[in-house]
């Protein structure tokens, strides 16, 4: 339980009037308000402290108690002892709730989950004050977090579980097959903790997909290039082509032209969130003109030439 000098926090001296406190709070709240400092945990923590300081100093009764005990913090041991004795006989009167002997704090607010107020505040003013504070101050939705997840194209051909770490918390999530590069998904309630009873923020994950394959992807369709020999292009034949999930045999029609394209239906990429539905694979043929012909091959080409080819 660290002593928090609320006056120092609000940059005030002890003689500050109610109006000074209000002005100081406003000034600092504008600087550290969580909405003005997205994804800044430090600012959020500072804002909570400022809120807490304002909560105490703007209430004459609480301020009086704070001035009495907070000032002489070096006598904390005596204070602790007195608190324990009082707790055993039913707790302090007034605003002091204290802790039960089991070590659990009293709670007056069922949905007040986050640790908005410091231990110092809780010790000084007890669970009741904490709950009152929660109700009096504004309820904030927690910060929305933004994260980027880099995946390889080969990793998103099938739905897979991934564990990501956001602000020190491990989150296990299933990335559906076929997510798009640049696509953002929202995971509700996995952002920053809500302030003063507000709901948790959301986590937004943007996917950065790196292509580690020889395929070009456009949404659910894939594109690739296959070389075929001049004779296969002219006479037709059967070749082996690569698809995302292995090789398949493909018949090449006689008279296939360079740069012509064939479509392999359903051999493309999985459609996002549509189970067992796939795009198509488009294959571009590149007819390879032979180099370094043997004498025999040259002879045969000469023969062909004579036929008008």
């Amino acid at each position: 339980m660290d002593f928090i000098d609320y006056y120092k926090l609000l940059e005030l001296d002890k003689s500050a009037t109610k109006s000074d406190i209000k002005k100081a709070y406003r000034r600092l709240a504008r600087k550290y308000h969580p909405d003005l400092n997205p994804n800044d945990k430090e600012a959020q923590a500072r804002f909570q402290q400022i809120n807490e300081a304002h909560e105490v100093l703007s209430d004459p009764e609480k301020r009086k108690k704070y001035d009495e005990y907070g000032k002489d913090w070096k006598h904390a041991d005596q204070f602790e002892e007195a608190r324990k004795q009082q707790a055993a006989s039913g707790g302090f009167g007034g605003g002091f709730g204290g802790r039960a002997q089991s070590g659990q704090s009293y709670s007056y607010s069922g949905n007040f989950e986050d640790d908005t107020f410091s231990d110092f505040f809780e010790q000084m003013f007890g669970g009741r004050a904490r709950a009152e504070g929660a109700h009096r101050g504004g309820r904030f939705k927690g910060q929305d977090f933004n994260a980027e997840l880099q995946l390889r194209l080969s990793e998103i051909y099938e739905s897979r579980k991934h564990t990501i770490t956001v602000n020190g918390k491990n989150i296990r999530l299933t990335i559906p097959a076929g997510v798009e590069n640049g696509q953002t998904i929202k995971i509700k309630g996995h952002g920053g903790a809500g302030v003063q009873g507000g709901p948790n923020g959301d986590l937004y994950i943007t996917f950065n997909i790196l292509n580690d394959t020889s395929f070009r992807r456009e949404k659910e369709h894939l594109y690739s290039t296959e070389e075929i020999s001049l004779s296969t292009a002219a006479l037709g034949g059967e070749i082996q082509v690569r698809t995302f999930d292995g090789e398949v045999k493909l018949k090449v029609k006689p008279g296939t032209q360079n740069d012509s394209r064939v479509k392999l239906k359903g051999k493309g990429f999985p459609k996002y969130k549509k189970e067992n539905q796939f795009g198509d694979l488009y294959i571009n043929y590149k007819v390879k003109v032979p180099e370094n012909l043997t004498d025999r091959q040259k002879e045969l080409f000469q023969e062909l030439k004579k036929t008008g080819i």
Binding site: A29, H33, D35, P38, F140, N146, Q150, N208
Partner: protein, 96 residues
Amino acid sequence: MKNEDLIPAEEICMHYEVERQFVSSLYESGIIEIITIQETEYIHCDHLANLERMMRLHQDLDISLEGLEAINHLLEKIGELQKENMGLKNRLNLYE
């Protein structure tokens, strides 16, 4: 756009206890979008978080509409820069 994603502006004003004029002003400033269907004005649920943020800033910090416009613009810029920064850090990780 699905209709269930649209929340009547009137309902939002009642729920958050804000004046209808405030929501209209945010719309006129381009901070939020309002969709009108058969003379009823709706706000898409995706824009709700921004509306809530603007309401908090207005109520907690007494920020005027002009101030909210400036803040909204700067927050958008911060968001873009944070995203870009994160992307660059991730790329850098590949070489470390």
